[in-house]
Structure formats: C-alpha cells, structure tokens
C-alpha cells in the first residue's frame, strides 16, 4: 500500500467553455504527492494553479469541465466520482483553505456552528461531542478563549483569526491532504508568518500532506519539499526546492527568480523582468506557451510543445533548449 502515492494526477486536461471559446485552463498536468510531503505550486494569475487544486476537491465550476486525464487520491478515482460521493470525502479526507478569509466564512452563522457542521457531517459525534472537538480545534490553531470565540460571528474576528478558523474547519476531520490556496496572500506579513508557522506545526502533529498554492516564491522556499512551476496550464518545471532555486532549467523559472528583488542585496541591482504580457488563454500560441516571452526562443518552440527533460528523478522541465542540450550530450557520448 505504501508504494501507491497519496495523490496521483495523470494527464489532466480541464477546459472552460466560455461564449468566447474554449479556454484550456489545464493542459496535460501530471504529478504525484507522497504521504506527508509538502508540494508548492507557483505560477502567475491564470496559470492554472487554483484550478488544479479545485479539481482535486471536485469543485470545478461551470462552465469548466475535466476533458481528459485521471485523478487518483487515496484509493478514490476522483474524475469518475459523482457529486454525492465527492461530498463524503470532501472535508474529511481532503480539505481546502481559501485565499480570502473575509469571504470564505458564512457571515450569518457563528464560528462554532460552522466548525460543528463539518464534524457532525462526517462523524457520528453528538452535538456535545462536536462542541468539545470544536473547542479543542480552536485551541489547536492558537485561538485564545475558544468557548467565547465559538459564539462569535466572522465579522467579529480579524483576518488572521478568520484564517485560523478556516484552518480549524479544514482540519476538523484530520484530512490526509490539505490544500492551501494562497492562504496568506490577503494577510499582512507578520500575520502571514504566524499562519505559515502554524501550518507547519500542525503538519508535524497530524502528519497530513499539504499542497501550497501561491505566487510568492518566498513562501514556497522554506515550506515545500517539492515545487511545481506552472505557466499557462502546464507544469513547466518540477523539482525540489533546491533544484528550483539553485539549478533552474526552464527560462520561465529563471525569469521569475531574477524578477524579485533580494532583500539582502547591499548593492542596487537592476531587476531582470520577463518581457511581454501574460499569455492569452483563449488564443494560446501553438507550441510552447512561454515561447513568445522567451529570450532563447527557437523555431521549433513556436511549432511544437516540448516534452519533459529529466535531470534527476524528481527534477524535470519542459523546454526544447534542455532537450537540445541533452541530445547533443548524448550524441557526443556516442562518439567517444
């Protein structure tokens, strides 16, 4: 049983059928996640990182539809499941924390009500037991006076507090996988530090896996075991944190790293941005989606999608340039 990864996504394709045409939000996305690992998905808006997460939860919204590929999670075939079957695992085996804690809690129910709802739905605990569990959860996520807080409404809490409540709800049934969709983007840095620390602490305690979706490279750098970099609905590079930060192979990953100013630089270094505009998903380029913005674009890049080049077991990227290098190295090797 242990050789089966917790989550296995294979060749997932997902499109939104809008009046203006088909938007390919995910274009052949594959990755695995082992039990207890933290995977970071980074990318810009529209790169498909949130859509990936939502598809694991079975939350693909109309007019979106999975058009191909498979999602295997903990023995379930998510891509085949009905809404009713999905409801039995959503919140229990896999749960999600959304970006904006201001809008993801229901304003007309108390905090206690919303935590107990999850517990009562997935376990056969009585009202009193559920309440006791809710108190326990709130102290787990570091909220003082849990008894009093349970009676409060979301508007009475600060942003950081609300995100803690969201985490409490997500963890209520000790899920195997927690998806965090930009959990700290709406929060201030000092609060962000609190929440990230809390998530790592809870991960150790409960032993769940985490998928961390963010656009902040700083956040993934110290939290994640593996990082997937997405661009225009495709994973363009995948590797360990060290691979991505110290040995990036894709031009897009490199561009991202040179785009962010370094806080500890003593001299003023000019930023090297990625030129051009984000890709228009309604009319994506024929070949590599990044080709129009790429400094090292070749003819083939405009025509064909590059296959993955593997540098080590868990470091690969999709770029013709690395394909070419590998091909040349192999040719050179043959001669000797």
């Amino acid at each position: 049983m242990s050789n089966q990864p917790l989550l296995n996504i294979e060749h997932l394709r997902l499109s939104f059928f809008t009046p203006a045409g088909e938007v390919k939000a995910l274009n052949d996305v594959s990755f695995q996640l082992e039990q207890g690992d933290v995977l970071g998905i980074v990318g810009e808006s529209g790169s498909g990182k949130s859509v990936t997460a939502y598809s694991i939860m079975g939350l693909t919204a109309y007019p979106g539809r999975i058009v191909g590929g498979e999602i295997h999670f903990n023995g379930h075939e998510i891509h085949k499941m009905t809404e009713k079957e999905m409801r039995s695992i959503r919140g229990k085996e896999v749960s999600i924390i959304f970006q904006d804690p201001m809008t993801s809690l229901n304003p007309v129910y108390t905090i206690g009500n919303q935590i107990c709802e999850v517990i009562r739905l997935h376990t056969n605990k009585t009202k009193e037991q559920a309440h006791a569990r809710a108190v326990e959860l709130l102290s787990l996520v570091g909220i003082n006076e849990p008894e009093r807080r349970l009676k409060q409404y979301p508007h009475e809490l600060s942003g950081g507090m609300r995100q803690r409540v969201m985490i409490a709800i997500a963890l209520a049934c000790e899920p195997k996988l927690l998806i965090a969709d930009e959990p700290t983007t709406a929060l201030d840095v000092t609060i962000q530090a609190q929440i990230l620390e809390l998530m790592m602490e809870l991960k150790k305690k409960i032993g769940m896996s985490i998928i961390m979706i963010t656009h902040d490279l700083g956040v993934v750098s110290n939290m994640c075991d593996k990082i997937a970099v997405m661009y225009a609905g495709k994973i363009v590079e995948y590797g360990t944190a060290d691979d991505i930060f110290y040995n990036p192979q894709h031009e897009y990953t490199r561009g991202l790293l040179t785009s962010i100013p370094k806080l500890n630089a003593t001299e003023h270094e000019r930023l090297v941005p990625i030129e051009g505009q984000p890709v228009d998903l309604l009319n994506p380029p024929a070949g590599c989606p990044f080709a129009p913005r790429c400094k090292s674009c070749m003819k083939i890049c405009l025509r064909e999608m590059p296959p993955y080049t593997h540098f080590s077991e868990d470091h690969y990227s999709a770029c013709w340039l690395t394909q070419k290098k590998e091909f040349e190295a192999r040719k050179g090797g043959d001669r000797t």
Binding site: E44, S45, S158, G160, M161, D188, V189, T190, I191, Q192, A193, Q194, L196, E197, H215, D216, L217, G218, V219, S221, N222, A241, D242, F245, Y246, G255, L256, L257, T258, S259, I260, P261, K262, L263, N264, A265, T266, H268, R270, L271, V272, P273, I274, E275, Q277, P278
Partner: protein, 323 residues
C-alpha cells in the same frame, strides 16, 4: 546637501467615525508624522494594512484636508492653499489598475484629461502628440490610444495610469502600492520603468508598499509606519541591515526569503497577536502590546521620534537595551 522638495511637519489626519453621546470618535489614521523628501529622491513607506501609509500619501497631496500639521512643497506652505496649480506638479499612481481607470473613456482621453484641465495643449494636434509621447514613454504605442481599459492586461493598465500621471510633467509622484496588484514578472517590468522615468524626467517619488523587498529595491530612504506613527526612518540599507526598532526587526524577519538555504537557516521573530484597532490604540508606545521588550514605561509615555545616528530616526524607549 541636497534640496528638500517636500517637508511634512507633525502631520495629523483623523477620520470622524461618528460620535457617542458626548465624545466624538476618531480614527487617528496618521498621528504626528514628520519627514522630508529631497529632490530626485525616492522615499519608501512600508507598514501593514491600516498603518496609515496610504493616508499619509493622500494627505500629502491634499486629497484629504489635514487635521493638523504642515505640508511644505518647494519652500511654500501648501496646507491651506488652492491646490490646482500644485496638482500639475504633484501626481499619484493608484494601487488597483482595474478600479482607477474610467471604463468608458478611451486611453487617449484618460491620458489627455489632465492636459485639458491644466490647459497644457494649445491645439488638438499638440494634445495628441503629447498623449502619444506619454504612451511611448511607458512602453505602449499609438495603436493603444483609441482602445478602452478593459482591452488591456493588469500590467498594461498600470502603465496607462502612469502615463496619465506623467502627462502634466509633474515633479513629484506618490506611488501608492503601484505594483502589488501585478504578477511577479510584470512587477519587475513596472519597477524598472519607474526607475527609468525617474532618471529621464528627474522625478521625486513617495513609494508606498507593504512589500519591503520592493520598497528596499527602489528607495533611497525608507520610513516604517505602525498604527499611524512613523517608528523608524533611515537610509534603505540602514533600515534593512541595521534596524533599530523592534517592529522593523520583526517585520524584516517575517518576510519569507526566496532562497531555501537562507530561509532554513534564519530564525524568525514571529510577532504574537494582531494589530490593535486604530479606533482605540494602546496608550504610550503603540507597538507595546506586541513588543517583546515592552515595559511599564512604554505604557505610560510615548517614545520620542529622535535622530539616533546621522539620518537614522527611531521611536523607542529601549533602543540601547535592544541593540
């Protein structure tokens, strides 16, 4: 010694938030803030949401009527004067490029409107020339002039907002979180553009942002705000590498560094609790409720914002003990 372009003395901006039976209630968004900006310099202003950085920027431009204090622009007190002539010299770029452009105006009209108001173009042809010149400066071209904002991406919209600010050839621009709504790769483009424009047009910036790495990158000096007060102000490198105030220290250590080895090695100071409500700020030092060094003195007496070393200001009672 370089010349001061803007000087702010004891600036106060209180917002009336209704009154209880006898007492009026205020949010002290900016409370007794003093600083200056030299000609051609970029002053960065950082802090968490609600700390008053945006309000400081807007009050500086007299978009709000200041409750107290003085604003001096180029040697003249502008606290109570007619702002129209000064609006040509002082401009602003807003945070959200989706909300700050009128969706029913073409790009040419958006950029041209300030020209009409200040009567800077004598003929239609001249107006058009200036508009195209401005679009070119921000990396757009004449084809874009007749389109509407919704046809552009976020980064391009921010460029339009910048072109509008530049149209009147200002001397001073308040940049209010101009890149925080943009994607990382586009942020770098816009930041570089701000730097180029500063050099070619001799601009002075007040650069407001919550992202300390970006502020540090673009600013000569940085001011750190907390709950309506400036707590530290110094040279950018001074602030980052030799910060004095405990809030600045924790703010710097809270920033996730995009470098796995450094971030694994560094120890974080994680501040406990939330920012208190500005409606009812703590007595004495406003940071004391979250400060690891707070003592009784901090609750009783407000620390003075003083010059600790040349050009390095900080407001804390325990600077000697901490550093």
């Amino acid at each position: 010694m370089s010349e001061k372009l803007i000087e702010v003395e004891h600036l106060k901006q209180y917002f009336d938030v209704g009154s209880s039976m006898f007492k009026k209630k205020y949010v002290k968004a900016v409370d007794d803030v003093s600083f200056f900006i030299n000609k051609g310099e970029t002053l960065g202003l950082v802090g968490e949401s609600g700390c008053g950085k945006t309000t400081t920027g807007r009050t500086l431009l007299r978009l709000y009527k200041p409750t107290g204090g003085k604003i001096i622009y180029d040697g003249k007190d502008i606290t109570n004067v007619d702002m129209l002539p000064y609006r040509r010299k002082m401009q602003i770029v807003f945070q959200d490029p989706y909300a700050s452009l009128d969706p029913r105006m073409t790009v040419a009209d958006i950029v041209g409107e300030p020209l009409d108001i200040h009567k800077l173009a004598a003929t239609k042809k001249e107006r058009e020339e200036i508009i195209i010149e401005m679009l070119r400066r921000v990396g757009l071209n004449s084809e874009h002039a007749n389109r509407y904002p919704h046809e552009f991406s976020g980064g391009q919209r921010q460029r339009i907002g910048i072109a509008r600010a530049l149209a009147v050839r200002p001397e001073f621009i308040v940049c209010d979180e101009p890149v925080s709504a943009l994607d990382v790769s586009i942020q770098a483009q816009v930041v570089n553009m701000f730097e180029d424009l500063q050099e070619s047009m001799g601009l002075t910036y007040l650069f407001i942002a919550h992202d300390l790495s970006i502020v540090k990158h673009i600013s000569n000096r940085i001011g750190v705000m907390y709950l309506g007060k400036l707590v530290e102000l110094a040279d950018s490198n001074e602030v980052i590498f030799h910060s004095l105030h405990p809030y600045t220290k924790s703010l710097i250590s809270a920033i996730p560094i995009a470098d796995p080895k450094t971030s694994r090695a560094s120890k974080r100071i994680v501040l406990q609790g939330d920012v208190p409500s500005p409606l009812n700020p703590p007595s004495g030092c406003r940071f004391r409720t979250r400060c690891p060094y707070a003592t009784e003195l901090c609750a009783q007496k407000e620390p003075e914002f003083r010059e600790v070393s040349s050009g390095h200001y900080a407001a804390c009672h325990h600077l000697d003990k901490i550093n």
